[in-house]
Symmetry: C2
Subunit: 223 residues, 2 copies
């Protein structure tokens, strides 16, 4: 018996890559930098955004897209800072894809923005597979999650550009070996830039903000 | 233009439910209780299993299926206790489904087992959608993740039977309101049994083990 095999996932990822390329062209043209922020539930993504808004908001115009399966709690938190923000509901879906991201950019409006953060769904698996057209893939690993996460969720650590190791103030109470974590990350992704931070105390965020400022200026120079 | 709409996801979930029903019949017949353990990356699923093996292993025969995207670190940890264990690799997939679970049970062998734990992929979204044929859906929420997680990942809290709030020893250093967490969980799932525990210190696990003992004895009585 003869039959056709249709690789639905390959096709899906190819369509996704095409949509991501369109988003990249669009943000480049408007002069905005798009950052895809990923991490486990409770790793501290929203608190990280609050720190970065505090450090970048004086000089640059920031936009935030809060993706969530449900609820508006994160968008509310960001809105309190006066930042342009939109809440995206995935209605059960476990990641943002390029098409949903493009629609989010449409709905929020990107004119005048220097940097746009997409806070992805809290998940270390699926968001790693779906590029959204971001210029920087920034991931969070929090100390309480453990230093073995690169072994267990390797793709996320492989596709990201920047890693923030958050809740670094809690290292003394958790069995987290920073050197071991670094070595495991570097084995997967030699060029990963790693920043130990605490979104609670603000520790380490000056360096992250400096990196983003540099990238924003590079993008502006292209405009 | 006329065309057919094929609801691939509905069909997938219907097939999954059928496979789950088969697994339920099979474990009932063999006299084993199947527990689907779910939670975020780093919530403490493997450490929880170590506590439960310690408390149940003297009287009952325990089996463990360790599902992971990659790596064998968890199976190695469990194997050190002398427990029957198998490592399942999902090769990128973000959850276990009923078919993969059934194959895992085949490969491990369930004869003689009183209780089988499936440690699902660390993920609060997708595993909630795919029943595996478990008798008990046990989920972990760890204190560092925050008390707002029921608002953000409601399905997982809705479909679970038992919730362990882990790392309870760290409440003093995180902004985690146990009463708020409880109220948010109960609003989604009134019958959820909630146990504050620490897989590090062992606190709270006697009550969890007592519940499981009761369920194992009920299952044995049906044999």
């Amino acid at each position: 018996m003869d039959y056709q095999i249709f690789e639905t996932k390959e096709r899906l990822l190819a369509d996704n890559a095409a949509a991501a390329a369109q988003t990249r062209a669009r943000t480049r043209q408007s002069g905005a930098l798009l950052v895809n922020l990923m991490g486990s539930p409770g790793a501290g993504k929203t608190s990280t955004l609050l720190q970065l808004i505090r450090l970048l908001g004086d000089k640059y115009t920031v936009g935030v897209m809060e993706a969530d399966v449900d609820s508006d709690v994160d968008a509310k938190t960001i809105a309190h800072t006066g930042t342009r923000v939109i809440q995206l509901h995935t209605a059960g879906l476990c990641h943002m894809d390029a098409d949903m991201t493009a629609r989010g950019l449409d709905a929020m409006g990107i004119e005048g923005l220097d940097i746009i953060f997409l806070e992805n769904i809290g998940n270390l698996v699926c968001p790693a597979e779906f590029e959204v057209g971001a210029d920087i893939r920034m991931m969070l690993l929090s100390v309480p999650e453990g230093d073995d996460k690169p072994l267990k969720y390797p793709l996320m650590f492989t596709v990201s550009d920047v890693l923030l190791i958050n809740k670094i103030d809690t290292v003394p109470i958790f069995d987290f070996d920073l050197d071991k974590a670094r070595a495991r990350v570097k084995a997967l992704n030699e060029s990963m830039e790693i920043f130990p931070v605490s979104a609670k105390t603000g520790e380490g965020f000056a360096a992250v903000a400096a990196l983003l400022r540099e990238k924003i200026e590079q993008r502006r120079a292209l405009r």
